[in-house]
Symmetry: C2
Subunit: 388 residues, 2 copies
């Protein structure tokens, strides 16, 4: 039976596939490239989890060596947990010095929610969030993730309120957390580990020190690991009494080793610096799109986390959802460039590649998007008149 | 700085250590054995996650090969997810044929809770549970885990009710779920993958087919993976509308490969059969303890998931909490046998070793427990008079 038929038989369709109608069958990866079963090379502008590159040999070797040595849980004293906790802490401002290790960003955010509620001794339950953020697939994090509820009707740009009832929720804003003097949580699952270029963590850009910082996805280059790093006073209530925290796989030696190896590669290969340089170049190329096309191209982001939204009309802000969808599919089919769609209207082309992404890769993204956008525009409005 | 001091500096004490006062520093594992920094060998009767043995070379090799090939998320079509979903489904009754992959048992249970609530379209919110079970560290699963609330005051043996408010909760009972015709969930995180010997899953022993089955810990021999396997009708509401389920690491090719390798080893090495034979032998040896000692030794469990409770007085059921604690510590210090404490009163010595555990290992557990129990009794009650 073909892979996709087998999948349909045993995996429900709400576990979505990219390019559902005709997905490429991916069999191999290397650096910023993925390969299908026929050996075709795809430029991966999408999978931020492979932070230091698909299947980085240094990380793979470190993981393999540790798998052949020891992999137990955090209840057994072992040096890897202590060493990685120290190393990860060293990447944060001094007061953020205690680490909890989980298996996913969702688990880290869930823990942050538990910790915030413990801090307030149950008297405060709600979480202040930003519209359109997404904090994970768990029951607790879905309650603060409007993003997943695309059929809902929410204001577009307002920092908004709170949960408790699933129907009233939006997502984490560092600023709002601080303004409200909640124990605040900076969600660095997408933005951390040097991706934004100028800083190792995005919260540093705002010169604030959050009470808790969650990190995940890129932390171990695909090995399931996430972390919540907290200030001591924020976690005191959570640690009080007989309340323990045990996470079976969280903090196991192999995941710690993967985390250590990723930090090594980021430092040894100057990936943060590269993200800053290549990200700036990429953003500049995308801004060229804005000059060349009458579909308004709104470029946002920093470092190697950038996106451009297609907007049909700059005055009404009518989103170019259909155009973005066509652009994404054709970039894959015609140029083997994999980008993702994002945003409230799925009108944003998001680029969040492995950090070894090069200027040449940025050129290829530009060339593909430029050509296809031109063709879409020619069909939509043959005169090519700019509506700006 | 020493490992333990480094740990205390960066990890809060509610992430507990075994043998907190003087924990051995574990540096290596192999089969059912762990080794400290001085090369001392410990018999691991505890770490069920290393299901087919610590650092099994077959699993390690498969994982390494896959790490050097591809590791992306479930949105990319890849054969490993489909193949493992088929293989895992084949271990279940026919109707349990859809798989959701997560990173931890906690995430799988959380998903089961979300799915049960979606099935009832929000009209039923509470979860029927058994006293003293534990279903995970998440906000949602803590609400149904009395186990973690040792300071609470709960009846000891009653199947009990329900959550909603954290203060009123107990844990999942397969029987109760069915009796109430809830979409029921069998939590096989501890019991699955042949551990009980007679069956691959514990729910099969009762000749029922749950609507959902969660599995975790042993599923991939320590690689972070868990699964929720469901009937189609139970998941229909969860899949309806625009509700998607995305788990960043869940279902990634490396975790699927680890899961496949574990199933291979269980089958190739007849581990289920071994668990039945060695488990029966171990239980028989533990029952000998009951005959030889005046502390009442209540032996429970099946296959390689057995325990014995120390009870000071068979009539009042006064638990032997202090004695169990002393026994556990001395078994580690004097004979390097690692067992865990469990139960409401921490009076149960739990034995849940890697499945390659041998009869000789069972003899060593017996000898250590027998000698130390004798010494504890001699000190407690020098006459040695039996109170049964």
């Amino acid at each position: 039976m073909k892979t996709i038929q087998l999948r349909q038989k045993h995996v429900r369709p709400n576990v979505e596939l990219f390019f559902e109608e005709d997905p490429p069958m991916i069999v191999r990866g290397k650096g910023q490239y993925l390969y299908d079963e026929n050996g075709n090379e795809f430029l991966d502008c999408n999978f931020n989890v492979s932070h230091v590159g698909h299947l980085h040999p240094y990380v793979a070797e470190a993981v393999h060596k540790q798998i052949l040595t020891l992999n137990v849980n955090s209840r057994f004293l072992n040096d890897k947990l202590s060493v990685y906790a120290k190393r990860l802490s060293s990447k944060f401002p001094e007061k953020l010095n205690f680490c909890y290790f989980t298996n996913s960003g969702s688990e880290a955010i869930d823990l942050a929610i538990q910790m915030a509620r413990a801090y307030h001794k149950g008297e405060r339950h709600k979480i202040l969030c930003l519209e359109m953020a997404y904090h994970g697939h768990l029951e607790s994090t879905m309650r603060i993730s409007v993003y997943k509820k695309k059929d809902g009707n929410y204001p577009r740009d307002l920092a908004a309120v709170i949960e408790s009832e699933r129907d009233e929720i939006t997502v984490c804003s560092v600023a709002a957390f601080i303004a409200e003097s909640f124990p605040s949580c900076a969600d660095e699952i997408q933005t951390g580990f040097g991706r934004i270029g100028t800083h190792f963590w995005a919260f540093e850009r705002d010169q604030i020190v959050s009470d808790m910082v969650s990190s995940g996805k890129p932390i171990a280059n695909g090995y399931p690991l996430a972390a919540l790093v907290v200030k001591s006073q924020v976690s005191n209530s959570f640690c009080a009494g007989k309340r323990t925290y045990f996470n079976t796989f969280g903090g196991a030696p192999v995941s710690m080793t993967a985390g250590l190896a990723v930090l090594d590669v980021i430092e040894n290969d100057n990936l943060q610096q590269l993200a800053q340089e290549v990200g700036a170049y990429l953003k500049q190329k995308l801004q060229e799109l804005q000059l060349k096309h009458w579909l308004y191209v709104d470029v946002r982001g920093q470092g190697l986390l950038v996106g451009f939204e297609l907007i049909r009309n700059k005055d009404t802000l009518e989103p170019g959802t259909k155009e973005a969808d066509e652009l994404q599919v054709r970039m894959m089919k015609e140029n083997r460039v994999l980008v993702n769609l994002d945003g409230k209207f799925n009108s944003v082309i998001k680029i969040e590649p492995p950090m070894c992404f090069s200027k040449k890769d940025a050129d290829n993204v530009f060339k593909s998007a430029d050509r296809i956008l031109g063709e879409i525009e020619a069909r939509l409005k043959p005169t090519g008149k700019h509506t700006k």
